[in-house]
């Protein structure tokens, strides 16, 4: 199967010394969703900007649908769509006018651009709002229109940079549905996200990125297996009981538990059973708890397991220039 996109040993440095991407090598199969997971400022947006021809790497090579991004940028632009973190649509134009303009900029005829605008309004449930100026739209409607605008030319490769950040849960689910349908129609998608849940729901393959480097790659299942499945998280009431608690649960833990003050995260193989075992072990040892819960590992947990650190915002605060990697 041919590749939707490939990055080989890509490096880029901003402002002379801030390394935004370090030796990034990734490849995704066509017709699938590739998830790029990482906290703010890890380098997600930088990679998307490079693959979509907006930014050139200092070294390394990038290909989209087999076409070299640097050498044949023009050709790449013909077959990609980009929807960014911000809804890049014009507030003073109507939804229909925005889509029509994009169609014209893809050099469609007046008729074809008009028809395509109507199709997209229909598809994204914006028919009624189509003749209203975008400034009257809700956040979710703008995001849908922005996504629609990136689909005007029916691109084979679609870049979605944090498409659901800042959306309410219902709108997020709607957008997930749209994304799933696109893949069914054969589009390849690169999706960046800060939410493991989202990558888990949508992506066929996930790469975790941290401080500009890829630190793990695999299916969602593979990544979670690295953690040993679900996690039981609890907080002991007295800090002098942390060690006692740890020794009580070592046999149950699938992997080494991580400790942060009174908070202990224990990876377990079988979720509910693991939870019961932990509760029993702690109870037997008469350790009192503030909270206890069972959950799927979050991005935080993946990060804790992979890097020993929580997924902190890595945006470089020093400079507010646009070149600073945003995600």
């Amino acid at each position: 199967m041919s590749k939707a996109f490939e990055a080989n040993n890509v490096n880029i440095t901003f402002d002379g010394n801030i390394k935004a991407l370090v030796n990034v090598s990734l490849a995704a199969e066509e017709g699938k969703i590739f998830g790029l997971l990482g906290p703010n400022g890890a380098g997600k947006t930088t990679l998307v900007r490079m693959l979509s021809t907006l930014l050139k790497p200092d070294s390394g090579s990038l290909k989209v649908l087999g076409i070299d991004v640097v050498a044949e940028a023009e050709k790449v632009r013909e077959s990609i769509g980009l929807a960014g973190q911000y809804a890049a649509v014009d507030e003073f134009l109507t939804g229909r006018e925005n889509l029509y303009m994009v169609g014209r900029l893809y050099h469609m005829s007046h008729k074809a651009a008009k028809k395509r605008a109507d199709e997209i309004l229909e598809e994204f449930n914006l028919v009624e709002a189509g003749n209203r100026q975008v400034k009257t739209y809700s956040g979710g409607m703008r995001r849908r229109l922005d996504l629609g605008a990136s689909l005007v030319s029916k691109p084979k490769m679609l870049f979605l940079d944090e498409p659901t950040t800042g959306l309410d849960p219902r709108t997020r689910l709607e957008l997930w549905e749209v994304i799933r349908n696109l893949v069914k129609e054969g589009t390849s998608i690169l999706l960046t996200t800060q939410y493991l849940e989202e990558a888990d729901e949508l992506a066929d393959k996930i790469a975790v990125i941290d401080h500009g480097s890829v630190i793990a790659e695999g299916t969602s299942k593979e990544l979670k297996n690295k953690l040993g499945g679900d996690v039981v998280e609890f907080k002991v009431s007295k800090s002098n009981e942390v060690n006692k608690a740890i020794s009580a649960i070592t046999k149950i833990a699938a992997k080494d538990p991580t400790i942060e003050e009174n908070n202990i995260v224990v990876p377990v193989k079988n979720g509910p059973k693991g939870l019961l075992e932990v509760v029993r072990a702690l109870d037997t040892n008469k350790i009192s708890l503030q909270t206890i819960s069972l959950h799927e590992p979050s991005l935080d947990d993946v990060f804790l397991a992979l890097t020993g650190e929580r997924a902190k915002d890595q945006t470089i605060q020093k400079s507010k220039k646009r070149e600073v990697p945003r995600g």
């Binding site: 960014g84 050099h107 605008a149």
Partner: protein, 253 residues
């Protein structure tokens, strides 16, 4: 080439729609030059119009203030581009297969068309204040053309500034910093001969003076004049430098 023109037109149309949808903006950007024209005419007119070779001060003033106003209008190019950049719209444009010059060309075109509207309003108000063309129809048209081509070239300078500073407020300030000295140290409002020698040297050799002199000659004096040729040379020079520079900025943004 056909694509470049199509792309430019699509962008121009988008910018014009914005102007139409923001009637307040259009209103205030037209009222401002009218206020300028009124103030200059009635505040300075009495004192400065005494020994003007062109009769009333309004005759002297109108071509100059038209150049000034269209120059200020051309600063919108930089402000608009910086704004689009901040909103991520430039990123979208850059990911589309459209001509590299189209976004700036569309912006400079729409700002030029807006300048046409503003000039028409100023001409009407000026006529009410007593302004009269003295050379007939074609030279009158040439006065407007002079203002338009000059402001068009300055639009490209503003485009470069806007794409460089990437922030609309900074773009506006940066524009004022270079437009103010250029317009006031020129023949726009008072004859250069009353300035100190060192300032005359500057005023006589900068493009605003050429533009104002050319516009004034077309309107009032001898229609064929060297100022216009100097101005054409300036316009060509500015475009030769700033069109490639702003395209380069756009590609790198």
């Amino acid at each position: 080439m056909v694509n470049t023109m199509m792309d430019t037109w699509a962008i121009t149309k988008r910018n014009l729609l914005r102007y139409i949808r923001l009637p307040q903006l259009l209103f205030f950007s037209s009222i401002q030059p009218v206020i300028f024209l009124t103030l200059f005419n009635f505040v300075f007119g009495g004192a400065l119009g005494q020994n003007s070779p062109y009769g009333a001060y309004i005759n002297y003033l109108l071509p100059g203030i038209m150049i000034q106003t269209t120059l200020f209008g051309s600063l919108n190019t930089g402000i608009g581009l910086a704004e689009d950049m901040g909103k991520g719209i430039i990123d979208r444009f850059r990911s589309l297969p459209l001509s590299r010059a189209a976004v700036m060309a569309g912006r400079t075109m729409s700002d030029m068309l807006r300048n046409v509207v503003v000039m028409a309003i100023m001409f009407i108000v000026g006529t009410i204040y007593g302004f009269r063309f003295m050379n007939g129809f074609l030279p009158a048209i040439m006065m407007f053309v002079t203002a338009l081509i000059f402001s068009f070239s300055i639009s490209w300078v503003a485009a470069f500034v806007g794409l460089t500073v990437k922030d609309s407020e900074t773009a506006q300030l940066a524009g004022f910093v270079f437009i103010f000295p250029l317009t006031f140290a020129s023949s726009a409002f008072v004859p250069v001969q009353y300035m100190p020698g060192w300032l005359q040297a500057f005023a006589n050799n900068q493009p605003v003076t050429h533009a104002v002199n050319a516009a004034r000659s077309f309107a009032l004096g001898s229609p064929m004049n060297s100022a216009f040729w100097y101005l054409l040379a300036w316009v060509a020079g500015i475009l030769l430098i700033f069109v490639p520079l702003s395209i380069w900025r756009y590609r790198k943004s």
